[in-house]
Subunit: 206 residues, 3 copies
């Protein structure tokens, strides 16, 4: 298999995982089939759409390549009918989600750097690619985004984005710039889950 | 009357109807006059703004042509002062809203196709033009968007967008590509209202 | 000090104030450190990001110039650790916020006019630059945006934006087009606070 098609398949796998997470959350809120698919679409593709708009790559990939939209719709629809089985797969879903976060952050940061964004902006754009879909999902469902409230999730994404920018700065453009940050994000995320790490919260009012 | 000015008037009529719907919802939430006009503006023009940003047509029409913003503001302001009369007009409003959805979806899809989006992306962009304003309205008012919860609304819009894309694919660019999908959307929407059709919801947890 | 660097420092001061306001609101909602910084970032830079996307100036300044993102992050982080002191500074914060609104609206409107937007669109874009961050902050925190509910805030911003457009229309491009509208916004805002002015709300249902 050529590298581009391997990357595409990995990318679509990330889209499917994020769509399933969005669809699951929408099912809990008792949305109808259309709502479940729409929230799945936003969860899977919303972060990338924001990144593409911000870097001027319009139309965004979600609109320019039908495989992304169809993958998100099929994964969301499948979740609609199969979701009772999913609760037995909690750790599988969390592992896939961590892998999706790793992949989508790294490719998002590289895409922003290639579009000419300076390092700080590219790291922000990469992190937004990773967490933006989840923020959109929670807003549509009337929740304060979970990524802002607890768990090490966005910080893992940001750490990986910074590592991408540093490696590229030192002229490392090959597979290492892709793999090392992805492993870092995946590792932080999994250890945070295993140890229930959280970011600090404000002190209780006296 | 020339076709472009007929289209413009129809377009502005759709904007006015959507603005009135947004303003009505904001009044129910007891927003102030500015809030009512702002929500009316988002309900009327939000979908088109997102479409224009996604297809790279900046500045969006809502910013480039003052008639759109002024129409939305006047319709919202009028609703603020006249709304007690509106409750007697429920079916008039629903009919106008269905007509607005039909028109805005069809012109949105055509605009996306003309901007070079592939069919799947153009259908998505057309549907977002139709339903995006309502999603924005509900988010500003702290509600889970109604279009995701019940009723055949987005699906009518999507069906019309797909018909536009199919007709254009077969080389039909004249009035038929405009009228047939608009009739389809309007028809599905009205029948769904008359028969209280809804999209399926997830099964109750056991 | 040259005019550009004076403008930059004033701009960054506005960013810091808006970030502190966003961070304070996030602390009240008990978000974690990352959430506090993220909401501060959106409150400070969200309006400008929307404006830049709408006028086609991508990547937006918040991504293209690292000083904006870093200022927002540092101000939000400082608020996280120092916020108990802030409650004693209520009037200082309100004065700084009014100054931030004045400055950001005026520079936002000028930037939109320079990008070729017609006057009505440029006034809208300028107002969105001023109030957009606060709208984003409140949506992320699950609130109906305060700017839509009470107080003369958006209207002050809009009045200043209109004055900018009028002055530029009459060929006045020098410091006056910057200072007079800023003073107008700041003045309306402070008088509204002192007199507890509000925009009209809909009549109570009978």
């Amino acid at each position: 298999m050529s590298t581009p098609s391997a990357l595409l398949i990995a990318d679509l796998a990330g889209v499917a995982v994020f769509a399933a997470s969005g669809a699951s959350a929408a099912i809990v809120k008792r949305l109808d089939l259309f709502g479940v698919i729409f929230v799945g679409f936003v969860a899977a593709l919303g972060g990338g759409i924001v990144r593409d708009v911000v870097i001027g790559a319009v139309p965004p990939l979600a609109f320019a390549d039908w495989r992304y939209a169809i993958t998100a719709a099929v994964a969301s629809g499948a979740t609609f009918w199969l979701h009772p089985q999913f609760s037995r797969l909690r750790w599988t879903v969390l592992l896939l989600d961590a892998a999706g976060l790793a992949l989508i952050t790294v490719t998002g940061t590289l895409k922003a750097l290639n579009a000419g964004l300076p390092p700080v902006g590219a790291c922000l754009a990469g992190m937004i690619t990773g967490i933006g879909g989840g923020v959109g999902r929670d807003l549509l469902l009337g929740e304060i985004p979970v990524v802002l409230r607890r768990e090490i999730y966005a910080v893992a994404s940001l750490a990986g984005a910074v590592l991408v920018a540093v490696l590229v700065r030192f002229g490392i453009h090959d597979g290492l710039a892709l793999v090392a940050p992805a492993v870092l994000i995946f590792g932080i995320r999994i250890i945070a889950l295993l140890r229930s790490w959280s970011a600090p919260v404000p002190p209780e009012p006296a």
